[in-house]
Symmetry: C2
Subunit: 440 residues, 2 copies
Amino acid sequence: MRLSRYFMPILKENPKEAEIVSHRLMLRAGMVRQQSQGIYSWLPLGKKVLDKVNAIIREEQNRAGAVELLMPTLQSAELWQESGRYEAYGKEMLRIKDRQERPMLYGPTNEEMVTDIFRSYVKSYKNLPLNLYHIQLKFRDEIRPRFGTMRSREFLMKDAYSFDMTREDAIHSYNKMFVAYLRTFARLGMRAIPMRADTGPIGGNHSHEFIILAETGESEVFSHKAFTDFDIPAETTDFDDVAGLQAIFDKWTSVYAATSEMHDEAAFNAIPDTDRLSARGIEVGHIFYFGTKYSEPMGAKVQGPDGKEHPVHMGSYGIGPTRLVPAIIEASHDENGIIWPESVAPFDVVVINMKPGDAACDTLSEKLYASLKNAGKDVLYDDTDDRAGTKFATADLIGVPVQIIVGPRSAAVGEVEVKDRKTGAREVMTLEAALNRATG
Amino acid sequence: MRLSRYFMPILKENPKEAEIVSHRLMLRAGMVRQQSQGIYSWLPLGKKVLDKVNAIIREEQNRAGAVELLMPTLQSAELWQESGRYEAYGKEMLRIKDRQERPMLYGPTNEEMVTDIFRSYVKSYKNLPLNLYHIQLKFRDEIRPRFGTMRSREFLMKDAYSFDMTREDAIHSYNKMFVAYLRTFARLGMRAIPMRADTGPIGGNHSHEFIILAETGESEVFSHKAFTDFDIPAETTDFDDVAGLQAIFDKWTSVYAATSEMHDEAAFNAIPDTDRLSARGIEVGHIFYFGTKYSEPMGAKVQGPDGKEHPVHMGSYGIGPTRLVPAIIEASHDENGIIWPESVAPFDVVVINMKPGDAACDTLSEKLYASLKNAGKDVLYDDTDDRAGTKFATADLIGVPVQIIVGPRSAAVGEVEVKDRKTGAREVMTLEAALNRATG
């Protein structure tokens, strides 16, 4: 992408409304723009990161056997009356009447709708297990949206829903998502700690939040420090291996970890002083097993091997992509801007032409741009007339992992400078060496 | 994907509510499900087709220089009061009040919001041309939603918005989208005819609808038959070539074509009898140039080379992916089901194991499944216990272009049968030959 043809509105001033670093950097880098209170546009740079986050979430959901569909944002109130949540959900639910005066709502979550889909089609235990997910907009009318897309009203959520014949099978489905979540967060460059959690309005009796540590987190968390040494489950993990997944779950829940709502002071104090971790964190995922809470009232039953009808055991599993983007920034930035993990960087590499119009600079830059694109890299080519200082500041701010700087003196001898965003290390090398570095 | 682990609820009976063939086939193939009047879930098979349609739209938008972002679904009423459309839009606009009683709406289109984004950041003609697009849900509260996702209330739209300094530049931006649309529909396996169109609530004075011919179309259209011979612009088209794009536009608008609203009986009758085409069609895209209709009232101005401020010239360009899917089916099906163009088929190939449990069938099927996946193909593997007749009917119904049938007799000698969905031709061949055929 040529920067001269892109839309990346960089702000020079620190926006006053931003209280936390991720919000400030997302505004300054032109990633998002607030349209109404707690409602954001994702500008092109932000949209690219969001797409990459979604792609990783999708890959790990599919690997764990979940199947993607797309449910609508607007739901009929009737469904929620069936489950009993229509009155219970409170003011966070955005209630709407259409032109026929039918009561509708903007879905804050999809347990009811997916249960309705399930009961319409699935009649036998032979079609289980089943896990259906979508990545779709939700709306929760928070009284105090804040921190940019970290706590917004219209937001994107990946929500998966599992259906099983028995509690035992449902726990296996739960463990699949538990492992998928560990892998997802690791691939996003973050270490998330699963913590026993309160189930809130979703309900149920078995639930974990995934928390990443950050000073600006809204949750107070307490855990054993052992988590930093636990292995992330491999890509080759067999999700059909019931005992194997249970072992991973057991390992990751073998030491103390809880949010303040579930905190057990005595258990925490039993941990040796030096292993105790008391910090702030950001909730980036939440999984629930809630048995037959929705299948009973909504009549989602299957015929079992015994020939009788049984309500299915369900779980739900949420990740918020529009919250993950700022969470990644909270975990990875410096005074100059964002430092993206390679997996979600909006561009893999930026080619900075220091002097557009200079023949050597233009030739070398164009050659780099074309070669990197041919090598399958996502390249930003800064071909603008901005001053060198502005170009460097922008490249650092937007956090692209590799910067290739093409200046007139070195270009004249076929050389460029390669800068690593994370370490700040710079090295002068030939064009070929730079290509190898950026595609290696 | 193993069918035993997929969610593809095939309906055996013809659904009564479906009036047109695409709606009937989408319901029968388990592609969509109505959740409320005119509001649909896209089940996994439908979601896959929708994703492929979106990917082609996106590629052609990017090729034409448009830049993707993502605006939210909910908009503040204030923006629409600025443009004057809040009162004018009528009952199709879904009006909402949030918990603070602030008037909002579910966006039926995004001219106001994108103009607001533009005016917030772009101040100089040097940053033009600019074309911003998104693929986002819209809501229009139609009094009579029907024909499944062909005319639904919540639907997906790709809407692009161009900004230029002058009318002349804006016409070039318009031509870019005109060419991108011709390419997009062709890649989706359809020939769309651009027709002079009424501008409706979007406004403006230069507008074309893209219509594909189908008996079930809601529009009555009149055109010269020459369109069937016109060349689709090549992938290598230079979108910066002002004269080149204008020549393509001129060619495609050189003969008569109009919807009934714009029909000129006299002009039509001037066409020789044998070249006249009077038919029904489906609108699959609509493009508008509307000058300063929004930029004037909303103050979207840039500084020109003359140092003065000028309101920008704008256009908007819509394609409905959730309508395109049924439109493709209307144009491509037979009595047994859907016949997908390869470009958007939910799977490239289906491997039908006629006798799961038979060692030769299982071995050969698994080998085919693994090899095709390794070759980058999107494969459905029917490993279910259904009867052979059911499997064949399902494969035809869902319209996967290539079927590889693994039966016990031929499997014993290492052979399989390959069926072409479109022609119905079947051929027995070795496993290797079948692999070559399916990956060739």
